[in-house]
């Protein structure tokens, strides 16, 4: 199957921009999502190709507009739903609950400032 992930030889992406003294992870969530992918992969429900396929089949605009670890997050979300481990509604519920927690934290931080 071809797709935007098959990038060899494409024009127009510009120069390569190496970063000096690059950290392993640029934010803590990147490490968490990498670790979750490793841990979930080790359950043996899917193999490395299925994992890759779940990222390559993200909508082309999402694929091109996402960082590496964002793709890993979206790919893992799709896999756990597809394999019936998590209901799509619980993903949404967990996200809104995390959002509520952050709002509360922000409010209390503002109140005490």
């Amino acid at each position: 199957m071809n797709g935007v992930h098959d990038m060899g030889g494409m024009h127009g992406f510009g120069k390569v921009a190496p970063e000096a003294d690059e950290p392993v992870f640029h934010a803590p969530w990147e490490g968490r999502v990498l670790a979750m992918n490793r841990a979930m992969g080790s359950l043996g429900l899917w193999n490395i190709d299925i994992g890759r396929f779940s990222r390559e089949t993200l909508p082309p605009d999402v694929y091109l507009g996402s960082s590496y670890y964002r793709k890993w997050t979206l790919g893992l979300e799709n896999l756990v739903v597809r394999y019936g481990l998590v209901r799509p509604s619980s993903c949404r519920a967990a996200r809104s609950s995390a959002l509520r927690q952050r709002r509360r934290a922000l409010r209390s931080a503002t109140a005490s400032a």
Binding site: H5, D6, M7, G8, G9, M10, H11, G12, F13, G14, K15, V16, A17, P18, E19, E22, V24, F25, H26, A27, P28, W29, G31, R32, V33, L34, A35, M36, R38, A39, M40, G41, L43, I48, D49, R52, R55, E56, L64, Y68, Y69, R70, T73, L76, E77, V80, L85, V86, S90, C91, A94, R95, S97, A98, L99, R102
Partner: protein, 195 residues
């Protein structure tokens, strides 16, 4: 993304698929234990031990196994630079990379500019890294797959004849093992140490 990932972690933890402490260990391993220093040791050993180098170039997976380096779908190929042939590694399809010997890939390796251009304009990409090779040097670009990953054995710099394996390893940078750089020279190391 922080929130979205935390949400995913809390569901998977609640359902017992992952354990926060196990995730901590994985993160720590990639931050502190698995990195390009492993590949640098392999290259330095190849520079000093011709028998090991022959084995490495013939069958890298088997050659590095005694160092405890094995892994899921781990098939490693070592490609050796020569005065007239430079090797460079890319993964045009995703970001396949020899994690076991180089750690996690840098952002530029996973970026669209590198993945798209390495195979069509390798000299232009090398210029982005400040590397210029003589016109007559052939450049071979190796496109990785999920099954086969590559490590470049850079050329040993001049003036290091009596160096120990350990000291030689300090010259072997991550980019030299991807092929977007060359091994440091003793002079460059002295400058780095002074700054």
């Amino acid at each position: 993304m922080q929130l979205r990932v935390r949400a995913l972690e809390s569901i998977l933890t609640e359902k017992g698929y992952v354990d926060a402490k196990a995730l901590d260990l994985i993160v720590d391993a990639y931050e502190t234990k698995i990195g390009p220093h492993i590949g640098a040791r392999i290259v330095a050993k190849a520079w000093t031990d011709p028998e090991f180098k022959r084995h490495l170039v013939a069958d890298a997976t088997a050659a590095v196994a005694p160092l405890g380096l094995t892994g899921r779908a781990f098939h490693l190929v070592a490609v050796e630079n020569r005065p007239r042939r430079h090797n460079m590694v890319v993964c045009t399809l995703c970001s396949c990379y020899p994690w076991e010997v180089l750690g996690l890939p840098p952002v530029w390796y996973k970026s669209s500019p590198y993945r798209s251009r390495a195979v069509i304009d390798p000299r232009g990409v090398l210029a982005d890294f400040g590397v210029t090779l003589p016109e007559e040097t052939e450049i071979r670009v190796w496109d990785s797959t999920a099954e086969t990953r590559f490590i470049v054995v850079p050329m040993r710099p001049a003036g290091t004849q009596d160096w120990s394996e350990e000291r030689l390893a300090t010259l072997v940078t991550r980019n030299a093992m991807i092929g977007t750089g060359l091994a440091l020279t003793p002079g460059e190391i002295a400058v780095t140490a002074a700054t």
